[in-house]
């Protein structure tokens, strides 16, 4: 039982190979340059208030997803790993949302508060 794994276990071992890793690296570099140049433009007045932040976070999210899926091999990992990754961000979202619901509604007059 201990030895018949060498073949079947590593069938997807190389995943995307060196060219793949370099492509992901390229995406990350492009994303970094993009986020810097976009930050210099005032999207807040063109689009809506908070647009700059939204775009910056979106680009950061895409970069993070590239690192997680390809460098950290989440794309080829069992579902439990996916669940851990997604779940932890969900938990962060709980912490942010439920804290900010206090700050956003203070002095708002809702329910007399």
């Amino acid at each position: 039982m201990a030895d018949n794994h060498s073949e079947e276990h590593h069938h997807e071992e190389q995943h995307i190979g060196i060219p793949g890793y370099l492509v992901v690296f390229g995406i990350l570099v492009v994303g970094t340059i993009l986020t810097y140049t976009v930050a210099l433009n005032d999207l807040d007045s063109i689009l809506f208030h908070g647009a700059n932040t939204l775009v910056a976070l979106l680009i950061a999210f895409i970069k993070m997803s590239c690192v997680m899926l390809f460098f950290m091999h989440v794309r080829w990992s069992p579902r439990l790993v996916w669940l851990s990754a997604v779940g932890s961000f969900f938990w962060l979202a709980i912490m942010f949302a439920f804290t900010m619901q206090d700050y956003f509604t203070r002095g708002s007059g809702v329910f007399g508060g």
Binding site: F98, Q101, S108
Partner: protein, 557 residues
């Protein structure tokens, strides 16, 4: 397995078991055996319980009289703070997971050890290191901020050893995280062949849920303590409203962990109670999946209600209403468990052994504690009850009446497995009853006191509250005796107790299918599981009559 004398029925201790497999100090301190680690936790946790109990006794002595005469207020502040810190962080949170969870989970799933034994040992070391820092701080002069460390007192005005004790709690938090991490991995990867998720004992489900809370919540208290410490040193002002900071932010971060922490405390207790009720009613637990999923539901929903500790703090009323509503919702899974346990007992063949007495005690006391939690969660009523003794009574009902009683029940239930010895059933029953009576006498009057307006954390109170306080202190004395007695007869049993044999209670669980005490690798042959959880059928080979006959014949301890 264990050999048994043909005539007397007495069991012989297995020659080589985890207790005598290696007798040097090094073999214990550097062990990777989860069972030895559990025993070392047991001793440490009991020591902290005793220290916390001494602080509790001092509190109750002071509160015998209305005036602040035994202690001055500053000292009293330190006493209740330290009682809270020792009990919550160093006793309640580790107790069942680190002692019973560590010992039993691998055995219950049919594994040789936890998945990551060295991480387990690191957990123990971190617990000792954290505990040492906290104790050092206590001995240097202690802390007086309340276990909740609210700012700005803890960061700006308190002249006590906040940093040392905070550091101790910070380190201890990582002990907790590593234990939870280990359990999650173990339940996923170490189950024996045939041990599917839905054949797991509910004790294991409860610990899985608890582990999720430990991993997701504890880091936040770690960062909160770090922020408080930095603020204490640097005085930047993130919690100072005059500079633009917000003290409520500290409370949000603190309670984000500390509310789920109470579920870290109680969920393992519920896991123990599921085992006790089902096994001592000799009946398959009612609604297995409901209980399993309700543990997960409590773990998840527990993260959504922390603001119910902050209703009068200054958070927005809208947030208060959201948290209040969700607090009502989080009570539902706990109620589901109560119904299922009760249904399990119905038409069961109940034996009122000591562990079962604790189990039933849990049900009644947790019920009261839980219901009074609803009073406190209702945003209108809570304004009257906040910061009164009503709150104190509520959390002692769930934490002591719930968790501590479940812990004692579990210790008594699995004592034969852990040590291979039986304790005195007579003294066990007496202690259980003393604990129950003493507990109620201590804490029920506090509901009335709180409702009548006695504030918490005060050394002095108006004279009209004295009578109930005297009842409470009298109850505390009885409770103290009830807690001390097991220490005596359990230790007595180690030397003079009857050999327990592999399955003294005649039960179907996997832990009862190995010798008592178990061998280091838990099972002589790796088990293959072909039966469902809590199988009490005719063909499970557990003859209750045989068990009763043996009990009648064997000499009383």
């Amino acid at each position: 397995m264990q050999t048994q004398d043909e005539i007397t029925g007495e069991f012989q201790r297995p020659k080589l078991n985890y207790l005598n497999n290696g007798t040097t100090l090094k073999s214990w301190l550097l062990t990777k055996d989860h069972k030895r680690i559990a025993l070392m936790y047991l001793i440490s946790v009991s020591a902290f319980f005793m220290m916390g109990g001494i602080y509790a006794s001092i509190i109750r002595l002071e509160l015998l009289t209305p005036a602040s005469d035994l202690l001055e207020t500053g000292t009293y502040n330190k006493v209740f703070t330290q009682h809270g810190i020792l009990m919550i962080f160093f006793f309640l949170i580790p107790s069942i997971p680190a002692v019973l969870g560590n010992f039993l989970i691998p055995i219950m799933i049919g594994a040789k050890d936890l998945a990551l034994p060295r991480v387990n040992l690191l957990s123990l070391y971190l617990y000792w290191i954290g505990g040492s820092f906290a104790l050092w701080g206590l001995m240097q002069g202690g802390v007086d901020t309340g276990w909740t460390f609210y700012v700005p007192y803890s960061t700006t005005f308190s002249n006590t050893y906040v940093m040392a004790v905070g550091l101790g709690i910070f380190i201890n938090g990582f002990s907790s995280i590593l234990t939870g991490l280990n359990f999650i991995v173990t339940v996923h990867t170490m189950r024996a062949p045939g041990m599917t998720w839905f054949r797991l004992p509910l004790f294991v489900w409860a610990h899985y849920a608890v582990s999720l809370v430990m991993v997701l919540g504890t880091p936040v208290i770690a960062i909160t303590i770090l922020l408080m410490a930095l603020e204490r040193v640097a005085h930047v002002g993130i919690f100072d409203p005059s500079i633009g900071g917000d003290p409520i932010l500290f409370q949000h971060l603190f309670w984000f962990y500390s509310h789920p922490a109470v579920y870290i405390m109680v969920l393992p207790g519920m896991g123990v109670v599921s085992e006790l009720i089902s096994n001592f009613s000799r009946k398959k637990i009612f609604g297995y999946e409901f209980i399993a999923f309700s543990s997960i539901a409590i773990a998840v929903f527990g993260f959504l209600v922390w603001g119910h500790h902050m209703f009068v703090s200054g958070q927005s009323i809208y947030a208060g209403m959201v948290f209040s509503f969700l607090t009502m919702v989080v009570a539902v899974p706990s109620a589901i468990k109560m119904f299922n346990w009760t249904a399990t007992m119905y038409k069961g063949s109940i034996s009122y052994d000591t562990p079962m007495l604790y189990g039933i005690g849990f049900m009644g006391l947790f019920l009261i504690g839980g219901l009074t939690g609803l009073f406190l969660g209702a945003i209108g009523l809570t304004v009257h009850l906040t910061d009164t003794y009503f709150v104190v009574a509520h959390f002692h009902y769930v934490m002591v009446g719930g968790q501590v009683i479940a812990y004692l029940g579990g210790i008594h239930y699995w004592w034969p497995k852990i040590t291979g010895k039986m304790y005195s059933e007579f003294w066990g029953k007496i202690s259980a009853m003393l604990v129950f009576v003493g507990f109620n006498l201590t804490f029920f009057p506090q509901f009335i006191l709180g409702y009548q307006g006695m504030p918490r954390r005060y050394a002095a109170y108006p004279p009209e509250f004295q009578v109930l306080n005297i009842f409470s202190t009298a109850g505390a004395s009885v409770l103290a005796i009830g807690f001390l007695m097991p220490a005596i007869y359990l230790i007595h049993s180690l030397i003079w107790g009857k050999e327990a044999g592999p399955n003294p209670w005649m039960l179907p669980g996997l832990e009862w299918r190995t010798s008592s005490p178990p061998p280091t690798e838990n099972f002589l042959e790796p088990p293959v599981v072909t039966w469902e959880a809590y199988e009490f059928g005719e063909d499970s080979g557990l003859d209750l009559e045989e068990a009763r006959r043996r009990a009648a014949v064997a000499p009383v301890a």
